[in-house]
Amino acid sequence: MATDPARPQSRPKSPHLTVWRWGPGMLISILHRMTGAALAIAGLALLVWWLMAIAASADAYADFNQAATHPLGLVVLVGLTWAFFQHLLSGVRHLVMDTGAALELDTNKRFALLTLVGSLVLTLLIWVPVLGGLL
């Protein structure tokens, strides 16, 4: 069979538990789940704290602000901003694919890569001016 000249040498393989390789599609898929979990747990906890602090008093808000502007706090906030945009753009990609569009291999790959570029650009657009103001 392998010697049949009519058959192509490299045959496509179906992905399975151990048969897979890194690609934009699978990376965006697992990132969608990870960013979603991060936003649901850390993002919502922070949202509740933030709103409670605004409602409580200027002192309570100063505590929140101190934690938020601490270097570690900034890492969390920048990370969550990126997670927000990555999940949002990846979600838009899913809404497009739900209509049956953008499922061709090359288009699908291009949109997957675009979500990565887009989330990075949007995060920088937000944080470069903010961090520039803080420093």
Binding site: G36, A40, L44, V48, L51, I54, A55, A56, L95, I126
Partner: protein, 131 residues
């Protein structure tokens, strides 16, 4: 067999049976994601363009209907969407039926509790004279 029913009454109670029910979950997840797309864009733009992010400015912003209502909608949509998503993750990785039921119940309590705290805070800002 009628729509969404299992072969046995116990199966019906447990939510087993044909896949004819369940499409509403899929649609609800897309509805909350579309809502969060709009409300999320509003939130990011608002935070970015507010003159300052001190407590007074934020409280005044959230006390007005134009701030309070979209923020309340954002809170509800975000918690519903997050609960949907977390339950989907749990459904994929927690295989024991009892454990899955326990984790899903805990997630439900956390989501309802968190959303209530956030909405209470918004009510306090809007009606409590915090601004």
């Amino acid at each position: 067999m009628s729509v969404g029913e299992s072969a046995t009454p116990l199966g019906t109670v447990r939510g087993l049976g044909s896949a004819r029910g369940g499409g509403e979950h899929w649609l609800a997840e897309r509805a909350t994601s579309a809502a969060l797309l709009l409300l999320g864009a509003w939130l990011v733009a608002s935070l970015f363009f507010l003159p300052s992010l001190d407590q007074r400015t934020l409280a005044e912003w959230l006390a007005a209907p134009s701030g309070a209502v979209p923020m309340a909608l954002f809170v509800v949509a975000a918690f519903v969407h997050s609960l949907d998503g977390m339950k989907m993750i749990v459904g994929d990785y927690v295989h024991d039926e009892g454990n899955r039921f326990a984790v899903n119940t805990l997630l439900l309590f956390l989501a309802v509790g968190g959303a209530s705290l956030a909405l209470f805070a918004l009510g306090r800002i809007a009606f409590g004279g915090a601004a």
